[in-house]
Amino acid sequence: MTDRPAMAAAPTGPDMAEDAIVRFMRGVRLQHDRVRDQWVIQAPERAFVPDPIATAILRLVDGQRSVGAIVDLLAARFDAPRATIAHDVLAMVADLAARQVLTR
């Protein structure tokens, strides 16, 4: 059992499109760690701290929103072009899928 403080390099994940609806894999969840005041990904045999971008995305994953809808919400919140945010979100979602955190 290990608990890793941060994400390491991951293999390239499957292609993600904006119309994909993503959800957490069974046995994986985002949880607020009250004692350490941080968000953690709880997964089989490990708990790790996602970076701020991953955290912002994962807090919007509810199993119903499409990736595009998550992009829209983040574009409304952050002062950046939608295309830039879409690029980052698609890359991060693919990465999280490759890490067995998210699935379609």
């Binding site: 059992m1 290990t2 608990d3 991951a10 293999p11 994940g13 894999m25 069974r26 046995g27 994986v28 969840r29 949880q31 760690d33 009250r34 004692v35 350490r36 953690v40 709880q42 089989p44 045999e45 708990a47 490759a98 890490r99 067995q100």
Partner: protein, 369 residues
């Protein structure tokens, strides 16, 4: 001198019982096994789970012995889930069937780690000492995967099964495991007693490592493979438990609170009892937890070593077992003045291994507690 309060533990290993239908000669349980009459009651464990969640523990690993031998396991899982703890069941699987799994799934169990002794029934049951165990384990894996719950298969590696690692990985893939652990025996307790019967050669270790690397390249991210090596062949010691009393806490069936599951080999320091103090008090103040926490306790060459906060001096129990001094540098480290002890052990491994000393109540050399 004041020391800052330690960060809370991340993980709790809850060893509910030492009872187990299997008798594996590399069992991580202590040689002196707790009997059923010594086991904590359900209410004790409920209180422990409450305290663990309150302190900031994130994951609880229900283990043993065979934790499914405790009829209150579903109740404990349900309670842990309600407290926001991530719940992991570490099981041999021989008591897992559709009827016993259902209450665990309904309680919200997050993950199952299922141990296999080998890929074929013959050698697997030779190690486990239980006829018919392999088919029960295969059925347990199918039940967990059919439910959709994530499954990890754990294979403990030793000199007689190294060559079958490629087939172990293939079995894990075929069963639908999300993770697999290829974990070489760790030489403490029963594993230390049986070291001459279990330790692979350097060539076998290289073969094992190659098999894991080949499978990782072939399988990509579809199945995670965790690989644990026997540290006798390493140049640097492992950061045991992520540092003594830093991330991990273990509670034995009888309620002793320990920094690792092998810590009961230590002498000269009392083992804290969860029935007489709180988990937080023990974690922060018990001499057992304080004595090797951080770097102040370190002798040279650890004290001046650039890796001292990476490997934390290695394993205290190994230093004790091999050198008679729990406060020495782990002799696995090539910088240890006693590293020749490791070399001598590896050079004297027998060509023909001795028979196993099976893990059973009353079967340990030197007798029971």
């Amino acid at each position: 001198m004041s020391t800052p309060a330690p960060l809370p533990p991340m993980s709790l290993l809850a060893e509910l019982t030492h009872r187990c239908p299997l008798q594996c000669p590399y069992c991580s349980n202590p040689l002196a096994l707790d009997g059923r009459e010594a086991e904590l009651a359900t209410a004790d464990w409920i209180g422990i789970l409450d305290q663990a969640a309150e302190m900031g523990v994130l994951q609880v690993h229900f283990s043993g012995g065979e934790p499914m031998a405790r009829p209150d396991l579903p109740e404990l899982v349900r309670h842990a889930v309600a407290r926001g703890l991530y719940t992991n069941l570490i099981t041999s699987g021989v008591l897992l069937n559709a009827a016993t799994f259902r209450p665990l799934a309904e309680a919200g169990l997050d993950h199952v780690q299922l141990s296999f002794q080998d890929v074929d029934a013959g050698p697997a049951e030779q190690v486990g000492g239980m006829k018919g165990a392999q088919e029960k384990k295969l059925e347990a894996a199918r039940i967990v995967v059919a439910d959709g719950m994530p499954l990890t298969l754990n294979f403990v590696i030793h000199r007689d099964n190294v060559e079958r690692i490629p087939r172990m990985l293939e079995l894990a893939r075929a069963l639908g495991a999300r993770r697999v652990e290829i974990a070489h025996t760790q030489y403490y307790g029963w594993g230390l007693v049986n070291r001459a019967a279990l330790m692979p050669s350097r060539a076998q270790l290289d073969e094992a490592t190659q098999a894991v690397e080949d499978a990782r390249a072939r399988l990509g991210s579809s199945m995670t493979i965790d690989y644990v090596t026997p540290d006798y062949y390493a140049d640097r010691p492992k950061p045991c438990m992520g540092g003594w009393g830093q991330r991990f806490v273990n509670i034995s069936p009888a309620g002793r609170v320990l920094p690792c599951h092998a810590a009961e080999t230590l002498t000269g320091v009392p083992f804290p009892d969860i029935r007489t103090a709180t988990l937080a008090e023990i974690w922060q103040n018990a001499p057992l937890f304080r004595q090797f926490r951080g770097t102040d306790w370190m002798p040279e060459p650890c004290r001046g070593c650039e890796f001292r906060e990476q490997d934390w001096g290695g394993c205290r129990c190994q230093a004790l077992a091999l050198l008679g001094d729990a406060g020495a540098t782990d002799p696995v480290c090539t910088r240890s003045p006693h590293h020749d002890r490791i070399t001598a052990i590896l050079d004297s491994l027998p060509a023909d291994p001795p028979p196993f000393i099976y893990r059973r109540f009353g079967n340990a050399p030197g007798g029971e507690r």
